[in-house]
Symmetry: C2
Subunit: 152 residues, 2 copies
Amino acid sequence: MEPSTATAALTDDVGFLLSRASGNFVRASNAALLSHGLRVRSYSVLLLACGTEEGISQRDLAAVLGLDPSQVVLLVDELAESGLVERRPSDTDRRTKLVVATPAGRQVRAAAVGDVASAVTGQLTELTATEQFLLRNLLSRLALGAASLPPV
Amino acid sequence: MEPSTATAALTDDVGFLLSRASGNFVRASNAALLSHGLRVRSYSVLLLACGTEEGISQRDLAAVLGLDPSQVVLLVDELAESGLVERRPSDTDRRTKLVVATPAGRQVRAAAVGDVASAVTGQLTELTATEQFLLRNLLSRLALGAASLPPV
DNA sequence: CGGTATTGTGGAGAGTGTCAACGATGGAGG
DNA sequence: CCTCCATCGTTGACACTCTCCACAATACCG
């Protein structure tokens, strides 16, 4: 009944497929962002910074992106040096620094979002619109549901 | 019709979800493989080496895994040092070295495959059996379909 | 006021992706 | 046969990523 364990093909492993697909998307997105001077990581930070008017703390950035706070420091440093975001002190907590997008940052984002979208859709050409919607649904439950589950 | 571009939530981005989900699976699998002295990468190589009797060339390993051949060298080195695989010269091409699993390698794989499976299913608890099958289907078309497609 | 937790920051170490070059071998063509 | 080119494994380099530890400044709680 279970001879598959003997010949467990790697191409049937969800983890392997996830890894491959993720790598394809990252590569395609990075290529699309190259001309904008961004990479996937910094682009994500820029997106989140553009998402609010008053800014987002670096701790929240790390939590949403699933990154270590020390990585966020470097990403914000890079974006700040390019003048796309700036660190604004919070008026309620002097520890937190709110990352807000500058007008230049919003402009770059507006210019890049189309290229990224076309790169993503280029990867999704194999799937119908319904399948894409379904995939997004399944992935969001996988990515966010089990994200913060400690082993025990 | 398209106000989503203005508020394009990161949690709706397929690439971001893929990256997060993939990271979760890799982390869980690595944790499961820790007691077996393996990691996801070396485990994949061991799986493929166990898949054939006569062995698999390192070039084929790299192609199947989507890795650079130089990475395969280190992975095979590591497995060979642990005595789980060995490099056997091909009798048809003296350049290629066929990676074959040793009895010890097959034993380790047999012991590890269960732990990896439970780690994977632990990540998939959010999905029904039908959804898991569907996800595998969609991902395989994403991962393998656009894998080797050069941009132009 | 004093102890503890949180936020941002810096640094170390391992793992990974990508690329260039090289020796050894195989294959095709003169 | 000999020469040119492609392929396989290998090494090295470089940048990026992940994970952890430590620290100063600040907030919060008793």
